[in-house]
Amino acid sequence: MATLATLKGLGRELRHNRVALGGFAITSFVLVAIVIGPSFSPYDPTLMDFTAILQPPSWAHPFGTNSFGIDVLTRVLYGARNSFMISFAGVSLGAIVGTLIGMTSAYMGKLFDAVAMRLVDLLFAFPIFVLALMLMLILGFGVQNVIVAIALVYIPNFARMARNTTMVVKSEPYVQAAQVMGQPRLRIMVREILPNIAAPLFVQFTVGLAFAIIIEAGLSFIGLGVQPPTPSLGVMMADGKDYFHRGPWVLTLTGLALMFAILGLNLLGDGLRDLLDPRLRRRSAA
Amino acid sequence: MSDVTLTLRNLSTGFKMGGRVMNVVREVDLEVRKGEMLGLIGESGSGKTVTGMSILRLLPENAVTEADTLDFLGIDLLKLSTEQFREMRGTRLAMVFQDPVGAFNPAKKISWHLKQVFERAGTKSPAHAERAKNWRASAIKLLADVGIPHGANVMRQYPHQLSGGMLQRTLIALVLVFEPELIVADEPTTNLDNIVERQILRLFRDLQKRLDCAFLYVTHDMTIAAVLCDRIAVMYAGSIVEIGPTKQIFADPKHPYTQGLLASALALDTKTERLQEIPGELPSPGKLPPGCLFEPRCKFAKPECRAKEPAMVDVGGERHVRCVLYGHG
């Protein structure tokens, strides 16, 4: 109920924030395209057609065809859907685990906090992509492991953010009131603290999703992630680079589609950050 | 009326909120005279602080201030450019804030702050230039004036090493360097403890006797106003509802709101069995009641009170009340 009211308020404010509105529009467009787009396409994303190899963009094939004669737009839609789902699963997992660690760390303090946060620091010390790469080498290739790698990359981010915000919220009188009332710790964390730290985590999620798509594309591009013929943006770009001089549209248009989706998510994340940050937001109720 | 330092006529201030202007100060008429301490009394949201800030142009960018007259010793403050106004603020018009900590640079010693101010004041007149030259001696004397006997020691310290009371005294000293003609003090004792509060109030009273400047003292506390102010203006929901000499207002409050405020302020001074309440709550600036703003809480409310906001009525003896009980103006 509380979240519903917040979302309604957010919708009202979204209209006044052009960045967020633009991001919202692009992201919605991308989501609609990858969810219902493939079912409108007359082509199959994996069926080869050697009569139509590397055709430039035309009315029949708006993004052209690739070296196996498959419609690039269809593959982009399917590929983007896969990339999105993998990233979403990865960031969700990272968000859930990270938030749990962060909140527990802040709420329990002492030894748990010290150990958990040093581990988080350790993960933070690696550049994100190198970390993902290393994890893939340890975990092995494949979709599931891409998800786990993305999750592991994002756990420190969410853990740190959840810990910091929990630290602030936990000294609020309403949390003390819940303690005085005798509410168990777990309940206080879920019912009193979580709803009040959800907003920044949500922003982090949106921005994280954008970067996770890049990680997924990157891993698949170098052959560590999704394996062909399953379409994914990274796999397609890897294909496209091999015959870039003969069919530049494959790599270029796939890359532009990727850029478009990420731009949308980043704009949305930035806009939401402004909307949800009480310091940047003009308070309607003083 | 050459002794009037500041004249406000029909001052209104609002804030732009999502495309519309929400007025928090409406049609305020005030004058502050030379050598006088005028108390501006009101609760939170009554517009008392915004009134003070409007005079000194210290409001955020989304604020809109309008007035027929905003006259300071013959200078039309509305016509001054931002540059000209900044030149006057701090030198001729000064402000003492609720929180003195924010007024100091935490990385610099007290002496640095005093030196800066003396040097800036040095350009004002030859006498000031003379003082700027011997700024250290002048500073110690000034600190002694505001009740800091060991000025030399204090000057060696950083702001965070001083207590709230000492810091507020130091801030007052800084303000006094320029010998401003108008000092606006906004709840300068609210963050201080009882005993220190009394000391600062005593300092204000001494200053008012000694200096020949005009004071606008903004507070929510009637008992402070009783001790300090020559005249009181009571604000409610953005309007002045009563104005007059302190003694008369305390002896015979006219407006029902003033009566309630005084009763609840003074009730605690004696051992009582039950406090007198003003029922209800302050209206929010978004949804003001029609007619008299105090009508929903007023025990004398009549149907006509809802019709339109009453005008200020002159009830004699320099007293004005915005209430239909005393006629229609």
């Binding site: 917040t6 009188p173 005085v180 | 005993i195 008992t223 001790v227 001074d269 809480r297």
Partner: protein, 348 residues
């Protein structure tokens, strides 16, 4: 109408029964030599210097609160009065000393065992807006304790919420509202209603009117007075305003930098104060101009980080003698119910 008075009568009966269960003579709350300290300068800088230093926010304070008694704790900011209140509710862990409620020592009790005693000890906070979860409606905030402690069958929850609000002087129409939609006075009424749903024996009220508007303060003070008289609750009323304490309290304890320097009944404290600090505080009362000159307190306040020996009030005290520098004076009972910590009280 009939139902309402019947249920509130039942509520009163429950309170009376509960009070009767334990021996009338033992105090409801008894605090002995309570010490709460906070670490100053945590982290690397402290580790590199000479280890963490501590601030004794509450320094060996003892007092009792009787059944149906209102005890005022008065002091300036930083005197430790809020810390005492929160330590009693186990929001801060005391370093040493004991907190005994109804004869049971809860000082070191674990969360699970403590839950049964939580109902008995409630708190009303200074800032009403932040004491209610901004994401919960008034209904949710009031329903939580009812369900948590299984105070009534779930079919009666709505009715109980209405009663609680009505008792605190609010209409049940506020139930679906969020905290930011309410004014300060209304929020404080919700917070009071929430505390009372658990029929506590003791309520710690931490400056509950200092953030409210002047015209609303009297309403809330009167509400405290009415509810206390009606239900016979014990209250620890924390305030910096002696006049508020006089209005509501039976006894008043005066705090100065972590020490309880004087405690006595209201009449005694106001007519025959003994501690020089109490006298200075009393000197600040009154609206008349001459009182401005009454409170002459010389010198700077006690510096808790630097000064460790001697009477805390030494630097400001007009009656100080050399002896006062040796140690903080022990608490002595000069009359039944009147304790003081001062070497030189006889001179006053």
């Amino acid at each position: 109408m009939w139902e309402e008075s019947a249920t509130s009568a039942a509520f009163c009966m429950a309170m009376v029964e509960k009070a009767a269960q334990v021996d009338k003579n033992t105090p409801l709350l008894s605090v002995r030599e309570l010490l709460v300290r906070f670490k100053l300068g945590d982290g690397l800088a402290a580790a590199l210097s000479r280890g963490p230093s501590y601030l004794k926010a509450v320094d060996e304070v003892s007092f009792d609160v009787g059944r149906g008694e209102v005890l005022g704790l008065v002091g300036e900011s930083g005197s430790g009065k809020t810390t005492i209140g929160k330590a009693i509710l186990r929001l801060y862990e005391p370093q040493s000393g004991s907190i005994v409620v109804n004869g049971v020592d809860i000082t070191r009790m674990g969360d699970r065992a403590l839950k049964h005693y939580r109902r008995d000890l409630q708190m009303v906070f200074q800032d009403p807006l932040s004491s209610l979860n901004p994401r919960h409606t008034v209904r949710t905030s009031l329903r939580t304790p009812l369900l948590l402690h299984k105070i009534c069958p779930s079919s009666e929850v709505e009715q109980r919420i209405d009663e609680a609000l009505t008792r605190a002087g609010l209409s049940p129409v506020f139930k679906p509202r969020y905290p930011h939609e309410l004014s300060g006075g209304q929020l404080q009424r919700v917070a009071i209603a929430r505390a009372l749903t658990m029929s506590p024996g003791l309520v710690v009220a931490d400056e509950p009117v200092s953030k409210l508007d002047v015209s609303v303060r009297a309403q809330i003070l009167n509400l405290f007075k009415d509810l206390q008289a009606k239900f016979g609750i014990s209250i620890i009323f924390i305030t910096h305003d002696l006049r508020v304490a006089r209005y509501l309290c039976h006894r008043i304890g005066v705090m100065y930098f972590g020490k309880l320097v004087e405690i006595a009944s209201v009449e005694e404290l106001f007519t025959a104060p003994k501690h020089p600090y109490t006298k200075a505080l009393l000197g600040t009362l009154g609206a008349e101009g001459e009182n401005l000159d009454g409170a002459q307190v010389a010198g700077e306040a006690f510096n808790p980080a630097a000064d460790t020996t001697g009477c805390r009030y030494y630097a400001r005290c007009p009656m100080r003698v050399d002896h006062c520098k040796t140690a903080h004076p022990p608490t002595e009972t000069i009359k039944p119910g009147h304790d003081i910590a001062c070497y030189e009280w006889r001179r006053s």
